[in-house]
């Protein structure tokens, strides 16, 4: 970032309306802050819905043998947990942050297409409602895994078409949200806010939005083929008719791999926004961060079959996808080194957002390393479909995406509410999370290497100890997240007192949102701020 604000004109002309009164405000709102709040609150609720499912899974796995739930319901839980977390919690949370922060970071009065913005939120709700309704249907919720592989998924009961249409609605929602982000960033920047002055959060979201527009239609196409295979006699995934179930896997992972980057790129963006503020240094290697993000996004389209090493690809394919996947470690490594270099010799302080961000850098790197291990095709024959991969992606998602979402919450809550959160409880939340997340997921590496398959309700006796440890970690982790809810509510109600516009020391030098009052007024930057370049930031 190399921009500061010279002066900020806070005048509101007579066009400015405040919010509507009552519940209708939230239903028909087109205000980016309202919609951002809706997304964030919705995501938080879904985080607990998905979390409850995870705890059902971990209760069943606490001991060998079938304890609480029947196997089909167990499989529904693994499937629904993943779908709810991916499409209901992590993605919407980042869209919420995008809505709140992007216009404020680039000096825009709102998102470019406010009515469509409203629609994308409600599409999300509708999609999740359709998905949730399947829990109560004959035959149970989808149980074939979040990847919805045929032919297994075609055996789903009444839930099947609802799950498919839910994916369609979620896809429309994401595409509309992504289009809005792109139009906002390209068209609404304040004069002087050149692309290479944008905070990295904005950059990473711009690239994420491209990914979303490219992949959500692909997923929609894949599930449409599932639908017609089941109900309209097509043979896309049926060898008897000349199709191939492996075709589904190719299409799904062409979507699926970029999809995991949809969840991690904005994470990188927030981390790159928070770390410099608390290290009191400009971000190290700003331009290289931008290029690395672009490189990761590009590579994400050409590595999908690393999820399919064991389906019987030709050797040339195995080799290609192995080396291409390994390449991703390079731009990812650039990022990790840049974060570290940003902290190097900085005058660091360790408020809750920074704690979560540092833990992110360390623990995400762990997830990256296991990814690298699995990218080695012959080794992946051992790891595939075991708890090792469960450990891998949970390290990249929980102590990475979720930790950074928490960091973002602590970092921007004062701006959103005008009040300071309770730092003591925040730190307690951090330490409980950071310790328990490792109790929860680290043993899963051992389980996987020892051969415990994923997606099973019961297991051989030799896996008992580490499963018990993992389940204990899960309950500590799950319940400590309630602290976050408490802190959010407490902060909205006043927290530990009012904050200034800048909140964090010198934050205004890093990004524009710290130049408007706290809480941020309903409309910001109705007249654009003036941005002048400075030497250091």
């Amino acid at each position: 970032m190399s921009a500061v604000v010279a002066e900020h004109d806070d005048h509101h002309d007579h066009h400015d309306h405040g919010p509507e009164k009552g519940i209708l405000r939230w239903i028909i709102t087109t205000n980016h802050k309202d919609i951002g709040t809706l997304y964030l609150v919705f995501a938080l609720i879904m985080f607990f819905v998905g979390g409850t499912m995870a705890l059902i899974i971990r209760s069943e796995l606490f001991e060998p043998g079938l304890q609480f739930v029947d196997p089909n319901f167990f499989n529904s839980m693994t499937t629904m947990h993943a779908l709810v977390m991916v499409f209901g919690a992590v993605m919407p949370a980042f869209v919420g942050l995008a809505n709140w922060m992007i216009p404020m970071m680039i000096g825009a009065p709102d998102m470019a297409l406010p009515r469509m913005n409203n629609m994308s939120f409600w599409m999300l709700v509708a999609g999740v409602l359709l998905l949730a309704s399947t829990l109560f249907m004959e035959g149970g919720a989808p149980a074939a895994g979040w990847t919805l592989y045929p032919p297994l998924v075609l055996q789903t009961g009444k839930a099947f078409p609802f799950a498919i249409f839910s994916v369609h609605m979620l896809g429309i929602s994401s595409i509309m949200g992504a289009i809005n982000v792109i139009a906002t960033i390209f068209n609404m920047r304040a004069p002087g806010m050149t692309l290479m002055k944008m905070p990295l959060f904005v950059w990473t979201w711009l690239i994420t939005a491209f990914l979303l527009i490219a992949i959500m239609p692909v997923f929609a196409g894949a599930v449409t083929m599932l639908l017609t295979d089941r109900f309209f006699d097509t043979s896309f995934f049926d060898a008897a008719g000349g199709g191939d179930p492996v075709l589904y896997q190719h299409i799904f992972w062409f979507f699926g791999h970029p999809e995991v980057y949809v969840m991690i790129l904005p994470t990188f963006g927030v981390a790159s926004t928070i770390i410099p503020v608390f290290a009191r240094k400009p971000l190290f290697g700003y331009a290289s961060m931008v290029y690395a993000t672009g490189a990761i996004a590009f590579l994400s389209f050409i590595v999908w079959a690393h999820h399919m090493f064991t389906v019987g690809l030709p050797v040339a394919g195995e080799l290609y996808f192995m080396y291409a996947t390994m390449l991703i470690a390079i731009p990812t490594g650039v990022k990790v080194f840049n974060w570290t270099a940003t902290m190097w010799k900085g005058s660091m302080t360790f408020e809750t957002p920074m704690l979560f961000s540092i833990a992110f850098v360390v623990l995400f790197t762990m997830g990256g390393f296991t990814g690298l291990m699995m990218s080695v095709a012959p080794s992946d024959f051992q790891y595939h479909d075991t708890y090792f991969i469960v450990a891998h992606f949970h390290y990249t998602l929980v102590p990475a995406s979720i930790f950074i979402l928490m960091a973002a919450g602590y970092y921007w809550l004062p701006k959103w509410t005008g009040n300071m959160y309770n730092e003591k409880i925040g730190q307690l939340h951090f330490w409980l999370s950071a310790i328990s997340v490792n109790i929860l997921f680290f043993p899963q590496h051992f389980l996987g290497l020892a051969g415990m398959p994923r997606r099973i309700p019961d297991y051989a006796i030799q896996f008992a100890d580490w499963n018990m440890v993992s389940s204990i970690g899960a309950f500590i982790y799950g319940f400590s997240q309630l602290l976050f809810v408490y802190i959010v509510i407490d902060t909205i109600r006043g927290g530990t007192g009012k904050v200034t516009a800048e909140v964090w020391e010198d934050a205004g030098k890093h990004s524009l949102e710290w130049t408007v009052p706290s809480p941020a007024p309903y409309h910001t930057f109705t007249t654009p701020p003036e941005i002048i370049p400075t030497e250091h930031f």
Binding site: I28, T30, M169, I179, N180, V218, T234, S235, G242
Partner: protein
């Protein structure tokens, strides 16, 4: 490039949320219908109508606002970007089905047939399950799924349809030139021709489908050939219908005297969409019909 100052920010909108509710009702109805529930089709229809009405009212509002000069240049740019990226998402959607066709012809069929292009498990499927199956195209697979059929030739109706759609692209551009030259007559005639050609295309395609089902034994259930043929051409036909309806609205608005050489986003969006549909058809004609 400053789009600030007069950038129009609407303050509330009921149509988006109502349209979403309509769409959800429609899809829930469709799902119920597929599950064999009697209420399904009614729900679906109600939802569909609600969705269309809400979208219609939304677009009517946009059009009124646009005509009353509330949108400046910056708003227009946002709309154009929105349309561009929406079309890109549609391109990706069609790409999946083209990809499936490519995969079937180059990977799964050769695998299932003798001497697959690649070694691997496809071979054993062939040896164990269908040793008699030969890799040919078109095919309904080793299971002869859907029974004997005759593949669709390229140079009957499909060729005529290609000519129709290409000329409609020309008339659409001609109409655009009319709009830019303030030649209202040319604008309306051009649009009329475009819409007419579009609907004629759909009519011919319906005839083609009728013949396929009733005379050639070719159905959606005719193995991978039938699946890819009907899904690709069917989604395309659906897009032609949507495009023609959008163009009809634009025609109606032109007739009411909307649009100026400077301000005619709706026309441009419709035209882009139409050209996109045109290009997809060319792909179809080459990869589905000719090759």
């Amino acid at each position: 490039m400053s789009t600030h100052g007069a950038y129009y920010i609407p303050h509330k909108a009921v149509w988006p949320v109502l349209a979403t509710a309509g769409l959800m009702l429609m899809l829930a109805g469709f799902a119920n219908h597929l599950n064999g529930s009697a209420i399904g089709s009614g729900m679906m229809l109600t939802g569909f109508v609600a969705f269309l009405v809400m979208l219609g009212l939304w677009f009517a509002l946009q059009s009124t606002e646009s005509e009353s000069g509330m949108y400046n240049h910056g708003v227009g740019i946002s709309y154009r970007m929105g349309m561009m990226w929406f079309i890109f998402s549609e391109v990706m959607f069609f790409a999946v089905f083209f990809g499936a066709l490519w995969y079937a012809r180059n990977i799964s069929i050769p695998h299932l047939g003798e001497g697959g292009m690649l070694s691997g498990p496809g071979r054993s499927t062939h040896d164990v399950l269908w040793p008699a199956f030969q890799a040919v195209w078109p095919t309904n697979g080793p299971g002869n799924v859907g029974g004997e059929f005759e593949p669709m030739g390229a140079f009957g109706l499909p060729f005529i349809n290609t000519l129709l759609l290409l000329s409609s692209g020309v008339t659409c551009t001609w109409a655009h030139h009319g709009l830019l030259a303030k030649n209202r007559d040319q604008l309306i005639k051009g649009l009329l021709a475009t819409v007419g050609l579009g609907f004629l295309f759909v009519a011919f395609q319906a005839t083609e489908y009728y013949e396929a089902y009733h005379e050639m034994g070719l159905t959606l259930g005719s193995g991978i050939y039938g699946s890819t043929f009907f899904m690709l051409t069917g989604f395309h036909g659906f897009h032609v219908c949507v495009g023609a309806i959008i163009l009809s609205v634009v025609l109606f608005r032109s007739w009411k005297g909307h649009f100026t050489p400077e301000n005619h986003f709706a026309f441009e969006a419709a035209a882009w969409y139409w050209h996109f549909v045109d290009v997809v058809w060319l792909g179809l004609f080459i990869f589905v019909y000719i090759m």
